[in-house]
Structure formats: C-alpha cells, structure tokens
Amino acid sequence: MLRFLARRLAATIPVLLIVSLLVFLVLRLTPGDPAAVLAGDQASVEQIAQIRASLGLDRSVPEQFVIWFGHLLRGDLGQSYYYKTDVVTLIAQRLEPTLSLALITIVIAVAVAVPMGVLAAWRFGSWFDRALMGFSVLGFSVPVFVLAYLLIWAVSLELGWLPVQGYRRIAEGFGPWLRHLVLPAVTLSVIYIALIARVTRASVLDTLGEDYIRTARAKGLPEAKVLKRHALANAAVPIVTVIGIGIALLIGGVVVTESVYAIPGLGRLTVDAVLARDFPTIQGVILLFSFVYVGINLLVDLSYVFFDPRIRY
C-alpha cells in the first residue's frame, strides 16, 4: 500500500510539472511587457528596468521558468497586475465562497444522483429509467447559465423564496449563508447529477446481472438490502471515479455560476482577471484548479481500496 502510494504520488509529479510549464508558457507567450504593466503608466524607463530585473525577466526563458518555479514551490504566485497584491492572498480571500459552493453542490449531486441511478437500474426499462435517461441528456445540454436564470426567475423573482444574487460569509450566520448558496448549488448540481446518475445506473445494471445478486435474492434478503449491500457496494468504483472526473466539469461550472449569481469566489476572480488581462492571477487560479483536480483524482484512486476490498495495491 505504501509503495503504491509512493508510486502514485510520484506519477503525479510529471503531470504537475507539465501543467506548471504549460501555464508558465501561457504568460510568456502573451504579448506585452509584464514589467511595464506592473510599473504603471507613470513609471520611468529605469523603474521598469528595475522591476524587470527583480522579476528576472531580463534572463533567458528556461532560466525564467526555473526562477518562476522556485517561487511557485515556496508558495509565491507573483503579484497581480490589476489588484497589485499577492496572487496567493487574493486567492485565499476568494476561497471560502467557492469551497462552500462546491461542497454543497457535491453533496446535493451525490445525494440525488446515486439513489436515482440505482432505482433506474433496478427498474431497467421502466418509465422512471427512461425519464432519468432523458433528464440526463437534458442535463448535459441545458447550459449552466440558462438554467441559472431560469431558476432565478422562477424561485427568486416569481416566488420570492430565495435571494436573487450575492453571498454571505458563513461567519455572518449559517442561515443566510445557506440561503444564498441553495440556488447556485442546485444550478451547478444538475449537470453533475446527470453525469453521476448515468454512470451509477450503468454500473449497478452490470452488477445486477451477477450470480451473487441471484444468490442474495434466493436466500431471501430484502430487496433494499440486495440493492445496497450487494449491487451498489460492488458498483461503487466507477461511481467514485466519475465523481472525481466530474470535478473538472464542476470547476467550469463554478466559473459560470459565480458570475451569474455574483458570488465573489475564485470563478468570479478568474473572469475578472481575464477581463483585466491580469495574467499572474489567471496563472495562479488555473494552477490551483488543476492541482485540486489532480489531487482529487489521486484521492479517488486511493479510495478504491476502501470501496472495493478486492483491490490491493
């Protein structure tokens, strides 16, 4: 197990290195002089040259990468062109809303999608199964922001049940925090539900054809127990895998959802940074999201041991 862990961790290092290199190149290939941008409009040529030297921009590109990567390892993502603060500080300030939104979304998605997928597989070919598959195709097709506006219009504007936009920090109270996040999380969870429900259904459908299911039924086990203890438990690995893969989808959704609901999180920061051509911030956010994605999929790989005791590393 430990050896596997070491190998698996080692395997992520080249991926993270390549991601860093790609992200670094994005900034280097951008037209414009970062030093001039950082110095501002009133800066003299000397000041710009000084900033350039302090950033190491007067050296060769490989050297610059080594310097930049060294800073990265020490947790220094550079200075934002636009906000004139450390990118790390900027990201830290925006972390709470995004984390809250993502967590609530995952909880809703898993709580809804897994039971629905199991039910659809159990009643394969029934109206419920067909409805779920139809919903799943629909969920993939309706754009997040269209759905967001539809929900705002119906729930917030017409019914007036929930706030239209905005965000309250959890420190301001659990109630307001949750009320502001329900709608964005529901919006964001739809595509995730579509994905997870589809895979759950397919995976449970596979296990339901196995001999041990027949045995379990033959010995008179209640159907609910057959589904939970035998069918779902054995179908868990693909489901957990798709939850991990879906994180990429979730991150894309966060960027859009936060913009529509005016949530001051990392997604909103990304869009603002792009609009302001604030490349260090863009780099920082992309790096963070990618590392989170790689990290979560690492955890998913490790969780196989827990979900399927037959797997030994």
Binding site: P14, V15, V142, P143, R198, G252, V274
Partner: protein, 344 residues
C-alpha cells in the same frame, strides 16, 4: 422443407445462416435518436443559411427609439442608409434597440460554425498526434505526458486563458475550444493504432523493409481514419459517403475504428457550441457586436428581472441545438459503437 440428399440440406442451412445484416448506415438511418437529432439539426442548418430571408434585419442595426421592447411589439429600425423601417420585434429588443430575433437567428450561424470547426480541428489534431503516439514508441511517452498535462487543466479554463491571450476572433475562439478536446481524441486514436499495428499486413510491410512514414501513411492511417477524412470529417455527410466505401470497410473496419471518432466528434461539437456560448456570455469570447447567443444573453444580463426574454430566447435556441447534437451523438453511439453503448 424436404431434402433428398444431405448435400442439399447442408446447402440450405448455409443459405439460411447468411442472414443479411443491415449495414451500419441502414442501422443509423433507422435509429430514432439519430432521426430526431438529425432533423432538428437540419432545421437549424436551414435557419442558419436562410437567416437573411426569415424576416430578419441586419443584426447589428439599432434604433434608440426601439429600446427594450417586449416580444411581439412593433417599432422602428433605422438602416445604414438612414431609412426607417417598421419592424415587428418578435423576441423584443435589447437595450441598444437591436432586434433580438434577428440576432438569435444570425447567432445560429456562429454556433454551428464553431461547433463544427471545433470538432473537425480537435479530430484532425487528435488523429495526427494519436497516430504518432501509437506508432512511434519514442514519441509516445513525451507526447502522452503533455496530453495528460492538458487533460488535468479544466477545459473551460484553457479556453478562457487562450482567448485572453490571443484576443477574441472566430479563429482564436475555435482553437481555444478545440485544444482542450485534443487529448481525448489522441488517446482514442492511439488505442486504435496500437491494435492495428499488430495486424499481419503491418508486420508484412515492416518485414519488407517499408519505411516507417510509408507504413503509417499506407497501412495504418487508411484503416484508422482515412474514411473519416474522406467523409469531409463530419457526421452530417458521413452516411452518404460511407455507402461509397467498399463494403468490407463499411461493415467491419468502419464500425470499429471511425465509429468512435464520429461519436466523439459529435460530443465535441456539442460541447464546442456550449463553451463558445459560455465564453461570449462571460465577455471573453467573440466581440459583443457579433450576434452570438452568448453575446445576446450577456447583453440581457443587466436587465434580466424586467426583460427576461433577452436571456430566454437565445437560451432556448442554445439548449435545443446542444440537445439535438447530443441526441444525435447518443443515437450514433448506440448504432455505430455497440461496445460503448452498453456502458450507458
């Protein structure tokens, strides 16, 4: 049926066992999802082509007197020559006084072009990279590691960053959306090539001393994707041309090799249309005066609570288009790629 001798009986059994299997194209044609998705898509293509004759005006025309009209209201629109036309705003107007209906109808063009080009570009690059990685061992490792790297950055972030870097033109937006899709196609083609390179005819070519580029061009490429390129690279036209390719190709090689590519191309097309709309909506896509569904929605954001139609009409078109392409893709997958279909 009575038989006088065993030979006749054997022959008849043989004859009976040769059941005419419907060709891949016939199965595709008979599939309900393909028909429904294809029909909606065909309609959208017609709308895109016929945009100028569908009661639209120039989508960039605006008239301050016709600002914020509700759907169905009539108003005026000033042409570039200074003439004033009476015009009914079926989908209302935006805050500049532009006709939302005209913008949505013309937006169909952008979405379809972007979806199609993204699929073609992603497939083209994926095919070349997959071919190289699958056949040349020394390319495989480094290239696939780069692909792993690209795959671990969420697609939409790559697209956003690239558009920010390159600026928003049709070409940059298409490439920005296509690039994150390339690794998946590469992986698919690579896996196809890995099986084909073990075929006897490839071994024979190698033992005859055929140069590697020639083997790739003559033996591997035709069997993986040549039909796809012949087909003008996209599904819409594929069916008609599949008929022209020799029957064996159509019945045996085709379903196993290009079918997954066609299916993947369809899904890339759907996601391309979605991502383009998202980019425009966020203000990081095509310039706001170009009529795209995302741009119409972005413009309608500020006044959403009073004039929801500016968001809902283009949203409806967008959802319907992506839904049609996805349903078409599901149908193609079920009929062309049974192995994949079983997985749901």
């Amino acid at each position: 049926m009575q038989f006088d001798n065993p030979r006749d009986e054997a022959l008849s059994v043989e004859a009976a066992s040769v059941v005419e299997q419907p060709s891949a194209w016939a199965r595709v044609r008979r599939n309900g999802a393909v028909r429904a998705g294809g029909a909606v898509l065909a309609l959208l293509v017609l709308v895109a082509i016929a945009a100028p004759w569908l009661g639209t005006v120039d989508p960039s025309l605006f008239d301050p007197a016709s600002r914020d009209l509700r759907p169905g209201m009539s108003g005026e629109i000033t042409t570039l020559d200074g003439d004033t036309l009476q015009h009914v705003f079926w989908m209302g107007s935006d805050s500049f006084g532009r006709d939302v209906y005209s913008r949505v109808i013309y937006g169909t063009r952008v979405s379809l072009v972007v979806g199609l080009s993204t699929a073609v570009i992603a497939l083209a690059f994926g095919i070349v990279f997959g071919l190289l990685a699958g056949y040349l061992r020394w390319v495989d490792g480094p290239l696939m590691r780069v692909m792993d790297g690209v795959m671990s950055i969420p697609a939409i972030l790559i697209a956003i960053a690239l558009v920010a870097m390159w600026g928003g033109t049709l070409a940059t937006v298409v490439f920005a959306i296509a690039i994150p899709e390339i690794p998946r196609v590469t992986r698919l083609v690579r896996s196809l090539v890995l099986t084909i390179r073990e075929e006897p005819y490839v071994e024979a070519a190698v033992s005859l001393g055929t140069p590697t580029p020639l083997i790739m061009a003559r033996h591997i490429l035709p069997n993986t994707i040549a039909p796809l390129i012949v087909q003008g690279t996209f599904i819409c036209a594929s069916g008609i041309l599949v008929e022209a390719i020799p029957l064996i190709m159509a019945r045996h090689i085709l379903p196993n090799t290009i079918a997954p590519l066609i299916v993947q191309g369809t899904f890339i097309c759907a996601s391309g249309i979605l991502v383009e709309a998202i980019l425009s909506f966020l203000g990081v896509g095509l310039p706001p005066d170009i009529p795209t569904w995302g741009n119409v929605m972005a413009e309608g954001r500020a006044q959403f609570s009073e004039y929801p139609h500016n968001i809902f009409f283009p949203g409806l078109f967008l959802a319907a288009t992506v839904l049609a392409v996805n349903i078409l893709g599901d149908g193609l997958r079920d009929t062309l790629d049974p192995k994949m279909a079983k997985r749901g």
